[in-house]
Symmetry: C2
Subunit: 206 residues, 2 copies
DNA sequence: CCTACCGATCGGTAGG
DNA sequence: CCTACCGATCGGTAGG
């Protein structure tokens, strides 16, 4: 009557489960918020017991930090890496990053719109480790844009006298604002208008 | 032993209380979110019993709708009305509206940043009456900007060929994006950079 | 506008 | 990774 032994979960299986949980958590959090998402609903969505999620991640805050990490990986894979592969440093890459972001919003890579715009809006005025981690990722993105803008100015691809920090700031807030407006009104026209704005700001088709 | 009769609340007193509750609710919601805000915490903050808030507003959804109304009144009083009073229709008024918004973010009229940017980000992908009301207010703001942009183009204050819808879209997303970045990093420099962006977009100091 | 409740859900823990 | 719990808090209602 010996049944097959209940398989003891391996380390790799645990990692796979953790990745599946944080992936689902990032999707849900883009809709319900990173704080609005509850461990109970996440357990339902993944088919696990609530206490299993606690066992795998510790506290809710630790789960949130792991979720931010997973969302950052998605963002890099969907927006950053393709732009770096598609265009050389400078103006072309800056355009590719902006268009990559807009495509990612358009395709609803996260069902509730950009995870980080949502998290930044939600946690902006609530101090803590989760806030700080979101701020850190946002700053990395802003720095990336600024670096490419600097290269573009230094190489003469953008008019001398262009302030790279000011230009990259404007692009960043246009992208974030567009995500909000596009999701709120379920309006892809906003993404199209943002494409025009970005191209004009970078001097394409002028 | 007749004590002074317990004063029966008048209609006016009820209205005053309702206004005090929705005002506090809008402040708290700008930090914790319009859904994250609980009736229990709102009761604590106002010194009322939870059930009193239910008695005055009905359901949580009705309270949220009343809170949006109160926040809209604040926005009009702090941003829209001063700009309408300070500048004639057209380009100057468009600038006054944008600078009024940036000043309102800078002054933290709502402690967690613009109530409507927060609510739009939070509710963008969650259908319902509250979402629809936030979307309606956002559209009124966008329409206001577009109207002034149209006047500015028609009167020749902005270059012929300027698309008023595109221009007002760009201004709107810059303002929304700036609110998020400025609150997230507690950085008033973002507001200053947005002022530069708005002035350049409108051809001031060019 | 209050006290006194309701069932449901929250994050988290014990113990295996 | 599970069952079985914990106290706290959620939105809401009865009844005054």
């Amino acid at each position: 009557m010996a049944t097959s032994p209940s398989p003891r979960p391996t380390r790799a299986a645990g990692d796979r489960n953790r990745a599946r949980i944080t992936g689902t958590a990032a999707e849900l959090a883009s809709i319900e918020g990173i704080d609005g998402l509850s461990i109970g609903r996440l357990a339902d969505a993944t088919g696990l017991a609530k206490s299993s999620i606690h066992a795998l991640f510790g506290s809710k805050e630790d789960l949130q930090l792991a979720t931010i990490d997973a969302a950052r990986d998605s963002f890099i894979a969907e927006v950053v890496a393709p732009a770096l592969a598609a265009a050389p440093p400078g103006r072309d890459r800056l355009l590719a990053l902006c268009e990559g972001f807009l495509s990612y919003v358009e395709r609803r890579v996260f069902p509730g719109g950009c995870f980080f715009v949502g998290a930044a809006a939600e946690l902006g005025s609530r101090p803590g480790r989760v806030h700080d981690e979101v701020a850190r990722v946002q700053r990395q993105w802003a720095d990336l844009l600024e670096r490419e803008a600097t290269t573009a100015v230094d190489s003469g691809e953008l008019p001398a006298g262009t302030d790279p920090q000011q230009l990259s700031f404007e692009l960043g807030v246009i992208l974030a604002g567009t995500n909000i407006v596009s999701v709120l009104h379920d309006d892809l026209g906003a993404v199209e208008r943002a494409r025009s704005a970005v191209r004009r700001a970078l001097g394409y088709g002028a």
